[in-house]
Amino acid sequence: MTWKTQSTASLDSTNILRGLTSLKRVPLGSPVYNAILETLFNEAAALDERRFDDWTAMLATDLIYTAPIRLTRTGPTRDRDVMRSMFHFDDDYNSILMRIGRLHKSAWAEDPPSRCRRFITNVRVAECGTEGEYEVVSYLFLERSRGDNPENERMSAERRDVWREVNGSFKLATREIIVDQSVLGMANFAVFL
């Protein structure tokens, strides 16, 4: 995925791009769709259960992992609201490994750990230009219980992934997390989305 810094904080080179871009849909219920859906469920379980080594094994080493900010806009630009000049996450494989390394030591934001449920729905799959790579769009709803606070922190997002088939299993090559809030209601993203 190519990425460019804006020369000022001006707003105009963002795009409306939503959902799948490829027209080569992989239909619901087909073997590839089922295998990818199962992969997403397995990934959610690995993260909810904090099995970070299992999650790392699902990541491609050329992973790009970002969460652009959202901006409330009106008029002709009202739908250009995904701002890829600023991020909540701006990571690659190595920085994700650093984050995981930290979680194994003193990361007070997750020690005690949050109890998380990642609900993954609305999964759509299409073939990419590259053989063995699939565009996968899913909705994420995260319920996060922290300490003895009876009120969960929660967030909703769309995830635009590229999953790559490697020796019969799938590796995450790209993830773009499109959060819905312009002002996040969650005090930090110390958990992966």
Partner: protein, 462 residues
């Protein structure tokens, strides 16, 4: 003799009982008290200068962003003459938000409720159906503009205040200006905001991150020990408290409550620990290790924009973290990268009150405007990975603050006090050039105590 504050809360508690100047303590109750919060809105946030935006966000006429001065929503817009205006985003007709976007470009702001229209400078243009005079029969149009704040642009940073006749911005910065200039006014083109700020809510009173922003260096060793465990800062996990990396330097401050921690890179980071400035000229030092955010090409500009003394400090013991009273955190830090890419992260945060028990964390991320694109790219990544929403440093802060507030409500807990008794006292290090209150050595409570004194002073002025 300390002058007594006249502020008394409805239950008879005096401000002097909460900010206890005789013993350098602050009652924990202040971290959630609703009545105090309402007074703060008037006496602190309507009186002092507040950071809202950066020049580079609104380069063209008609460009605007919408931000908050505490609980007052405002439009920051550039007019046709190129001036920056800050106007209350409240329609003088029936109180609707005039601008419902967070950013954009509009030559005219028209309220979507009944259609009153305003210029970027806030002036009233008119109401629809002109012949019916829906703005009033005998009302002067000049009186119907959006309420305007007083604006000052400092190093591209857009500040505003409702205190129209109050202290000038330079009086507000006081002796700390000499140091802040080294961060904000050092290059020809200045800083550039790399994108709209991250925004998120932390469920705590604004004063909890506020007092921390006044150069609480000590918490780094424990709360942020993952920095040492990760091997970036000096020392190892086992020797954190022995070596205390990043703790020794010179803290600067002033009665206005601002502060900065000035630190030598060699004392802080493992990868810089072999660098010796012994016998090296200022220029040589700058080339060996440019201060955070500066690339070698920009070094000649430092000499042009700053005094020789300021450049020498920047080359030797640059200001890196600190705060501007009441609610700004400054983070201009070395951020060494494993892949050899550009080191350095430049960020400012504002902690915007959203009620006694909520604060909005606004994270502005910068680079110098005249550095190559790849440097900007690296520095954006450095800042996002260290600060704000997912920052591996500040995630932990956002987890602590709500727990302090929760502790400030119990009948027993709220009578507890915060202790600021580890004081060094002002001392001028030999050969130090800048003014202000100076605290060399291990970082202590002085700067944060000065923050509370500045708070006490404003809260005492009706």
């Amino acid at each position: 003799m300390l002058q007594k504050s006249s502020l008394t809360l409805s239950d008879g508690t005096k401000l002097d009982d909460l900010i206890i100047r005789e013993s350098n303590e602050v009652s924990l109750r202040v971290m959630s008290d609703k009545e105090l919060y309402d007074i703060e809105m008037e006496r602190v946030f309507a009186k002092t200068w507040l950071l809202l935006a950066h020049d580079t966000e609104i380069p063209n006429s008609g460009d605007f962003v919408v931000r908050d001065m505490a609980e007052d929503n405002v439009i920051i817009a550039r007019d046709r003459e190129g001036n920056v205006n800050v106007s209350l985003n409240v329609c003088p007709h029936r109180g609707m938000r005039v601008c419902t976007a967070e950013a954009g470009n509009k030559p005219i702001h028209q309220c979507i409720y009944h259609g009153w229209a305003f210029k970027p400078d806030g002036d009233f243009i008119g109401a629809p159906v002109e012949r019916e005079k829906m703005h009033g029969n005998d009302v002067d149009k000049k009186t119907l503009g959006l309420k305007k704040a007083r604006v000052h642009v400092y190093g591209g940073l857009i500040f505003a205040t409702w205190n129209i006749d109050g202290p000038s911005f330079d009086e507000f910065l006081g002796d700390s200006k000499y140091y802040f200039d080294q961060l904000f006014c050092r290059t020809d083109s200045g800083l550039e905001l790399l994108g709209p700020p991250q925004r998120f809510i932390v469920p705590c009173n604004w004063k909890i991150p506020g007092e921390q922003s006044a150069s609480d260096g000590f918490h780094t060793l424990t709360l942020h020990r993952s920095l040492m465990e990760g091997g970036i800062m000096g020392g190892t996990a086992e020797s954190i408290y022995d070596q205390a990396p990043g703790m020794y330097g010179v803290d600067i401050s002033c009665p206005q409550g601002h502060s900065l921690r000035c630190l030598e890179a060699a004392q802080t980071f493992k990868m810089f620990s072999d660098i010796s400035f012994e016998g090296k000229s200022v220029e040589e030092r700058l080339n060996m290790l440019p201060p955070p955010g500066i690339t070698p090409e920009l070094i000649p500009q430092l000499f042009k924009n700053l005094s020789a003394d300021q450049v020498e400090q920047l080359a030797t013991i640059p200001p890196q973290v600190g705060g501007i009273f009441p609610n700004i955190l400054v983070l201009f830090i070395f951020a060494p990268r494993m892949d050899g890419g550009s080191s350095g992260a430049l960020a400012l945060h504002t902690y915007v009150p959203r009620g006694p028990d909520k604060v909005e964390f606004v994270n502005f991320i910068f680079a110098e405007k005249d550095v190559p694109e790849q440097v900007k790219r690296d520095m954006l990544q450095n800042s996002v990975q260290a600060s704000g929403t997912s920052g591996t440093i500040e995630q932990d802060d956002a987890d602590v603050w709500p727990q302090i507030m929760r502790n400030s409500r119990g009948a027993a807990s709220k009578t507890m006090t915060l202790k600021y008794k580890a004081l060094h006292g002002h001392e001028r290090p030999e050969g130090w050039k800048g003014d202000g209150l100076l605290y060399p050595g291990f970082t202590k409570d002085d700067t944060q105590w000065n923050w509370w004194l500045a708070y006490h002073k404003l809260m005492s002025e009706a």
